[in-house]
């Protein structure tokens, strides 16, 4: 292996080396400049000299494979990689600011701040998982925030890409990662379940809201293995004012069995964005850990854990989408609302982990001041929420899979598009208003939504019109 060529002022493949800004156990970070690139850059160089941990090389190889394939605001942009044959490096954008690690002295954070912080991280994770990557090292020092507010996930040395060889699969006899944040299934050698990241994020949320790590700081395998059978103290035991909805979210993330956690990071982000709609279960009420008898039963029945099929990240995300149905409970024709329900039911039938958001837009006047109360004096907002839930009742959805939302807006199409964007909606179902006077006057909401939404949109028409007009009920991809 050639000696590292790196020192200040040296040049590698057109990059001029600046100063060393970080020297970690696995790699060093240097500022670099390149004549053709005008964003601040960092060069990451692995420690590969004699006597260094071979893990440093392998995890660096993983980063070299994964980083160039990632895109979007939640990852650092990658500008180039250099091979081990000459000088191994990756050049990434330098994100201004510090990692969340710097916040540790401020813990516990106020609940609202922690909620917003973790919602942002969950959104970033959802984006990463959609790119077929499991991070596997979610912890405060792997998370930064852009000036524009988006969370950025850094450090992909332990990550798994579902479409690339996993170089770490046989490299280490023991699970490799950050002990306090590691999901229990990782201790059993599972590296292909995106819900492992949700567990780690649950640890972070617990830590940031209570000031304590749910599984301590134990680094030994014995200490780590406890989490395979021992549940953490419920946060409410540590802080009496802990909101039940937050405990529900935290403990769902920290479930030992991945299948009991949120199915996707998007669904976790959704709950964090709508705390008032989190469905509370016994998790939210827990004041102490499971009795020892239960924990010991778990401990000694681990052999009977179900053998798991090999997970496919994309398939799992695709089976757990967020659906939204836009309903006009006021003026919508009953047959259209019925057709919407039939379509929604069919889509839900094939997706047991999907969740459904029922959305209604309370149209505001452009000029006049709106009153919250209608002529009869009842609250319009509340009435509509009741109507939405009533519409959804025949779907017989578990409450944890159903939410209702009333948006107030002047432009209903813009409001729906924004809702879909903000909540990472995967599929929007909307009714077409046929032949209405208002449609001729104002343009169709559904056509604007269908043409501008980033997600799949299904435009539904009542069956009577479908027979009258060929091409009705078209799915817009």
């Amino acid at each position: 292996m050639p000696k590292p060529l790196v020192k200040s002022g040296a040049e590698i493949d057109g990059y001029t080396i600046g100063e060393c800004v970080h020297a970690g156990g696995m790699a060093t970070l240097w500022t670099v400049t390149h004549p053709g690139i005008d964003v601040p850059l960092l060069m990451k160089i692995p420690r590969v000299s004699e006597g260094e941990d071979p893990a440093a090389i392998v995890s660096f190889e993983m980063e070299m494979m994964i980083l160039p394939r990632l895109a979007g605001p939640h990852v650092p942009s990658c500008f180039g990689t250099g091979d081990f044959a000459h000088q191994a490096y990756v050049v990434i954008e330098r994100i201004v600011g510090t990692t969340l690690y710097k916040r540790l002295p401020d813990l516990p954070l106020p609940y609202e701040e922690a909620r917003q912080l973790v919602a942002g991280i969950a959104t970033a994770l959802a984006d990463l998982h959609r790119q077929n990557v499991i991070h596997h090292d979610i912890k405060p020092s792997s998370i930064m925030f852009r000036g524009s507010g988006e969370a950025v996930l850094i450090d992909y040395g332990l990550s798994h890409h579902n479409h690339l060889p996993d170089l770490l699969q046989e490299e280490f006899r023991l699970p490799y990662g950050t002990a306090p944040y590691m999901a229990p299934e990782r201790l059993l050698g599972v590296r292909d379940d995106p819900r492992s990241d949700l567990f780690s994020l649950g640890v972070l949320l617990y830590f940031f809201t209570t000031g304590e790590r749910p599984f301590g700081e134990g680094e030994t395998l014995r200490a780590m293995r406890r989490r395979l059978w021992r549940d953490p103290h419920p946060p409410r035991k540590l802080r009496a004012d802990y909101p039940p909805w937050l405990q529900e979210v935290v403990l769902r993330c920290l479930e030992i069995e991945p299948v009991w956690r949120y199915p996707t990071a998007s669904q976790l982000a959704f709950d964090l964005a709508h705390p008032d709609q989190v469905r509370l279960t016994t998790r939210s009420e827990r004041m102490k850990r499971d009795p020892l008898s239960v924990a010991w039963r778990r401990r000694f029945n681990q052999g009977v854990m179900q053998p798991r099929a090999k997970a496919d990240v994309a398939a799992q995300i695709a089976s757990s989408p967020i659906l939204a149905v836009a309903l006009d409970t006021e003026e919508g024709a009953p047959e259209l609302n019925e057709a919407l329900r039939v379509t929604t039911e069919r889509i839900l039938a094939t997706l047991p982990s999907a969740r459904l958001a029922c959305v209604n837009v309370l149209k505001l006047n452009r000029i006049a001041i709106d009153k919250t109360l209608d002529e009869q004096g009842s609250n319009k907002h509340v009435d509509r929420l009741v109507a939405l839930r009533h519409w959804a009742t025949p779907l017989k959805l578990d409450e944890s899979r159903l939410t209702a939302h009333v948006l107030e807006a002047v432009d209903p199409a813009a409001a729906l598009l924004e809702f879909a964007e903000m909540n990472s909606v995967d599929h929007l179902i909307i009714g077409a208003r046929q032949g209405s006077f208002r449609r001729t006057l104002l343009g169709s909401v559904s056509s604007k939504v269908a043409s501008e939404a980033a997600c799949t949109v299904t435009v539904v028409r009542p069956p009577r019109m479908a027979t009258a007009k060929p091409g009705a009920g078209v799915v817009w991809g």
Binding site: D83, A85, L164, P165, E170
Partner: protein
Amino acid sequence: MLLAVFSDIHGNRQAFEACLKLARAKGAERFILLGDFVGYGADPEWVVDTAMELVAQGAVAVRGNHDEAVNSTTESMNNEAQIAIEWTRGRLDAAQRRFLAELPMRVEDTDRLFVHSEASSPQRWTYVRSTTDAAKSLISTPAHVTFCGHIHRPALYSMSVTAKMTSFVPKTDVPVQLLRGRQWLAVLGSVGQPRDGDPSAAFALFDTVSCQITYCRAPYDVAAAAGRIRENGLPPWLADRLSQGR
């Protein structure tokens, strides 16, 4: 340079044509043929003629066990393969048989190695079924990338400097960078008789500059290839298995 690598064509003209067409459309500049040109399929003459032409234009070709069996009666094979190879023998002329007989067992090209079965002892026609088999092959050569076929199922193995192995089932059309720091064994799927459950013809592209390998699939007229097998009186299972990809 972009290499197109084909293995286990097995006399399947429709599959080979589809792969050549797709590879050329993707910009392939040089062809590598990993052996088993004949056996099973009903168009061995066309396939061997095409291979001879490609070699004349600079393609690399190595010998497979079915190619060897055409010229030798000592190769042991299962019953259906034996029937197919005897039928094939009668179809090929002297020049075609000589081409197969003179194929090298392995070809080295800078830091790449091309071989039909695996590198440790190519004449034994061992299948690479596991990381242990792959390790045996990788230890026997200094090549950065070894390309082989024979098992009819695509796979990608690597060995680190500390001899740790990884295995991977490649995803169609997703390029994988074969990093310099380790050795790689790229096992090709079959052009003419895929056995991984996907009936479409398998091949791969390799970019020698970026060191990226992309496993590709080419859909082809399976019914026509199966029809040719039936009308020539070859064992019907050889036709049936094409549509099932096994």
